[in-house]
């Protein structure tokens, strides 16, 4: 059987060298820097003051609004200050700085109940109180996903194990070592959603990890092998490849009765519900030119410079440091930036920047766009002082800019179109379907 996939997409060199490493733990740094805007949505509100003592796992900030998350301390120690600190977005944002006392005193855990006895609302409450956000990159609060609005029903939970970005192997190593816990976590999440079916989508370039999952699959929990192609892990692309359902333009997976969660998130749900451990650390891939690459559990808020020093220092010639994958990740410009819950990898890169030439109108960008857009339009229209009206569907996967033979920064033009569209309040026609059909079927 041919592995399922979506139309478009690219095949960047995979560089999954760090997949050979098993998960290890990075020692906690002297100080951790926890940004209050740690998740998608409103920044959290600090509940500690300067000088307060905190324990490992105790709450230091609470959500401010529905789309917002709890933040827990990954170390025990004293709150040194709450001030503006460089964030991976390049801005300076409020952060709680905790001085580590290296005693690792854990905060008292709450009552742990058998997950099979918990009501769906209780599960999402535990998830909320544990500060779990989507670990795929967007850091969307997981409890919001786990409690669909009334009237919407989720029938299928899709677990995203694609990890389609080059270099990143954090999810793969997690599946290899914790497959049983991930399956358990998926069951708990499905219980919270009252979903009947669980499908785990995994690319076929991770045979070991896929085998671990296949060994534990059942009638209810299916594992679907997908073609290795970028962006296979994009939410809409994954849903289409796994179930054949198309999420409407500007719609949510909820509209087709599906919820998508990353394997890391599902594992965090397991740890929170079964072990009572809040989310304050995660597996991060240290890839590319790291002196000591690997898949490492890093406490949230550890400074980039500390991580690099723990792993043998900064190699010469490195001219770009990226948080996340090379396709969608964010280049950081300050060694003081801490990792957050959303950081799936840190890459030290080295190489020539691409030069920009005139557009050849080859439309390679359109042929690879997984959303069926014409990325070139955003570039041509921006030059004419206009915005590309379909840019709102762009998820900024970067496939167009990757294939562009002229090296045009198309994602930046698409972002500009998005900005100008949102400023002019252009209403998009709702419900129109833009996802192209699969070219080779599934």
């Amino acid at each position: 059987m041919r592995p399922a996939t979506f139309a478009g997409g690219v095949h960047p060199a995979q560089h999954k060298d760090s997949s050979a490493f098993s998960i290890e733990r990075l020692p906690a740094a002297e100080k951790v820097y926890l940004h209050l805007s740690n998740s998608c949505g409103a920044p959290s509100k600090a509940v500690v003051k300067k000088g307060d003592a905190v324990l490992k796992g105790s709450i230091i900030a609470e959500p401010d609004g529905r789309i917002s998350a709890f933040i827990h301390s990954p170390v025990s120690g004293v709150v040194e200050d709450i001030k503006k600190w460089p964030h991976c977005s390049g801005k300076k944002l409020e952060a709680v700085i905790i001085q580590n006392d290296f005693k690792d005193e854990p905060a008292p855990a709450g009552n742990i109940k058998d997950p099979s006895l918990l009501a769906p609302s209780q599960i999402s409450e535990i998830v909320r109180n544990s500060g779990i956000v989507g670990l795929g990159g967007a850091a969307f609060p997981a409890d919001v996903k786990l409690s669909p609005p009334p009237g919407k029903k989720v029938t299928t939970l899709i677990v995203n194990a694609c990890e389609c970005e080059p270099f990143l192997t954090a999810d793969e190593s997690l599946i290899r070592e914790k497959a049983a816990d991930i399956i358990e976590g998926a069951k708990i999440a499905a219980r919270a959603l009252s979903a009947k079916q669980i499908i785990i989508g995994i690319e076929d370039n991770k045979p070991d990890a896929a085998q671990e999952l296949l060994n534990r699959s059942s009638e209810r929990i299916k594992v679907k092998l997908l073609k290795t192609k970028y962006p296979q892990g994009g939410e809409k692309q994954l849903i289409y490849a796994v179930s054949g359902k198309k999420v409407p333009m500007c719609g949510l997976p909820l509209d087709v009765g599906v919820a998508v969660m990353n394997v890391g998130t599902v594992f965090a749900v397991y740890e929170a519900v079964v072990k009572g451990k809040p989310l304050y650390e995660r597996v991060v891939t240290l890839g590319a030119y790291f002196r000591k690459p690997g898949n490492v559990i890093i406490p949230a808020g550890t400074r980039l410079e500390d991580i690099i020093n723990f792993r043998g220092g900064l190699p010469d010639n490195v001219n770009k440091i990226i948080f996340g994958g090379p396709m969608m990740g964010q280049a950081v410009c300050d060694m003081d930036v801490p990792v957050s819950k959303a950081t799936s990898g840190i890459l030290l890169l080295w190489g020539e920047e691409r030069k920009e030439y005139e557009c050849l109108r080859c439309l390679r960008c359109a042929s690879v766009c997984p959303m069926g857009l014409m990325p070139r339009e955003s570039f041509a229209l921006y030059k004419a002082g206009k915005a590309y009206d379909k840019a709102m569907n762009c998820m900024e996967c970067g496939a167009c800019a990757y294939v562009c033979p002229s090296g045009i920064p198309l994602i930046q033009y698409l972002k500009l179109s998005k900005k100008n569209l949102s400023m002019s309040n252009v209403r998009l026609p709702a419900g129109r379907d833009l996802t192209p059909l699969s070219k080779n079927g599934s």
Binding site: S89, G90, K91, A331, C333, D334, Y382, P409, Q412, Y413
Partner: protein, 267 residues
């Protein structure tokens, strides 16, 4: 006979042409739009830039509004003295507009966070990590205002920031819309002095910019500012327009600025 055809064609065409001409002449009389001859005169007096500073879509639309009495004459900031004099001969009530000029509220000199290599417009650069400067207020110097200026009064100069030639600036305000950072401001030309900094940081400014105002308060001190024309608000000096009678008041206040953030309009 074949020769008859030669006569029929011109006769038929001539008759048809005459009929159409008659139709056009009649409809011209019936559908005539009466336009005030003043509109054409006013439009001729206006600079014809269609800059939109008056609030109308074009000079023609503004001219029509002026003649209809829906808009005052002083709205056109681009009109020169000669055309205003001309307008005064048509309308007795015409008054000269208050001359305003655009000023760049940044003197440059901020440290750079990272070398920016993306789309070369300020609008695009401002989306990437709030701009590539350590200062989140400063001019990015990629020239969006330069492209927007219909008078060619703005140039990105040797300092890497936009500079206004105030003798050319008509105060239409198009550059203000073009600037994603809000660095440009329109001030009355009579005021003459302005602060070339927008950073609301206090002492931290010194960490990233040598020209930044760090709210030391000398310009607002009693000694140099006896009439209270300058006040420090949100870590920046603000000119209290009501108390200002003479730009010399600002000169004495700003002359002691340790970073020379007070600048003068260049006429």
């Amino acid at each position: 006979m074949i020769i008859e055809g030669i006569f029929t064609a011109p006769v038929l065409l001539g008759a048809a042409g005459f009929a159409f001409a008659l139709f056009l002449a009649v409809s011209d009389m019936l559908l005539e739009v009466k336009e005030d001859p003043k509109v054409a005169l006013v439009e001729k007096a206006l600079p014809g830039l269609n800059c939109g500073a008056c609030g109308f879509s074009s000079c023609a639309a503004y001219a029509k509004a002026v003649v209809e009495g829906a808009a005052p004459i002083g709205k056109c900031t681009s009109a020169d003295e000669e055309s205003i004099k001309f307008l005064k001969t048509i309308f007795s009530s015409a008054s000269s507009p208050e001359k305003k000029v655009a000023v760049i509220r940044c003197a440059g000199g901020s440290a750079v966070k990272f070398p920016y290599k993306g789309v070369p417009t300020c609008e695009a650069a401002a989306l990437v990590t709030e701009g590539f400067l350590e200062c989140s207020w400063g001019c990015l110097g990629l020239g969006d205002c330069e492209k927007a200026c219909p008078q060619g009064a703005i140039k990105v100069g040797s300092k890497g920031i936009a500079e206004v030639d105030h003798s050319k600036c008509t105060g239409c305000g198009l550059c203000i819309e073009a600037c994603p950072r809000g660095v440009i401001e329109l001030i009355p030309a009579a005021r003459r002095y302005y602060v070339a900094c927008l950073s609301t940081d206090k002492a931290e400014v010194r960490n990233y910019c040598k020209n930044g105002c760090f709210a030391c308060g000398i310009c607002a001190a009693k000694k140099f500012n006896p009439d209270g024309v300058v006040e420090i608000k949100d870590n920046l000096p603000v000119v209290i327009e009501d108390k200002l009678k003479d730009p010399a008041q600002l000169l004495t206040a700003g002359s002691k600025c340790p970073v020379k953030a007070w600048k003068e309009i260049n006429f």
